[in-house]
Symmetry: C2
């Protein structure tokens, strides 16, 4: 039940802390392999899950997209570029939702808000958006 401080875990953690690109497991694997060439992708996955479960890193998930990871624990939230999948950090308080009354029999205990859009490198013009964001039914 104890956790061991292996080389692999430390190198993964260090990489995530200094990285700001919200890498996928594969990208972590590629980066960490420069330091530990014999590390396996399975070990990367296992450690990423362990670190996320321990609250040391954050998981960023989106349907149909590869999971991404974030070593920055400062309060912030994310927006995902629908074109390239990259994650943009947003500061300030995350948008809140007031969930209405719990409907018959179902107990709502949490919610996830996912912001979507286009990042700098992916939208053609530089003009400001102005328009509001649309709710995507889920």
């Amino acid at each position: 039940m104890e956790h061991r401080n292996t080389q692999q875990k430390k190198v993964i953690m260090d990489f995530l802390r200094q990285s700001h690109v919200h890498p996928t497991a594969e990208e972590v694997y590629d980066a960490v392999r420069q330091i530990l060439p014999r590390i396996s992708l399975g070990t990367v996955y296992r450690n990423l899950e362990l670190l996320a479960a321990a609250g040391a890193i954050r998981k960023i998930e989106s349907p149909g997209q590869a999971r991404r990871f974030d070593g920055d624990l400062n309060p912030h939230y994310h927006a995902r570029c629908v074109s390239c999948g990259r994650i943009k950090d947003l500061d300030g308080p995350p948008p809140a939702v007031s969930v209405g009354n719990t409907p018959g029999g179902f107990r709502v205990t949490g919610y996830r808000i996912e912001l979507l859009g286009t990042c700098e490198r992916c939208h053609p013009s530089a003009g400001a958006p102005a328009g509001g964001a649309d709710l995507i039914p889920v």
Copy 2:
């Protein structure tokens, strides 16, 4: 570029319209096979995507979960049971989010809200919830 009204598409559509269980592709496949025993799972997937693209059905997606489909186009939204994955229909206006100012370079064009909780069959006691829902960071 034209769309053809095949037997397969019609049977899938009919099943989704009369079903209230928000089936996965596999569940649609199993149901439709009772009527068209030679239909293939690939055809089910292709038609579900075509129907969703045409706006005839709705897709319900959640990270790490099998996609579900909904033939009910009346305005409503969904909550997902974190225990069994089943979808509960919620009436009334979906919770809205006021997305703040677009941050540097990123153009927010949409957002997805996913409500999570426990359904009738999955929570032990029958006591009412009372507490508010927690934001799950994404």
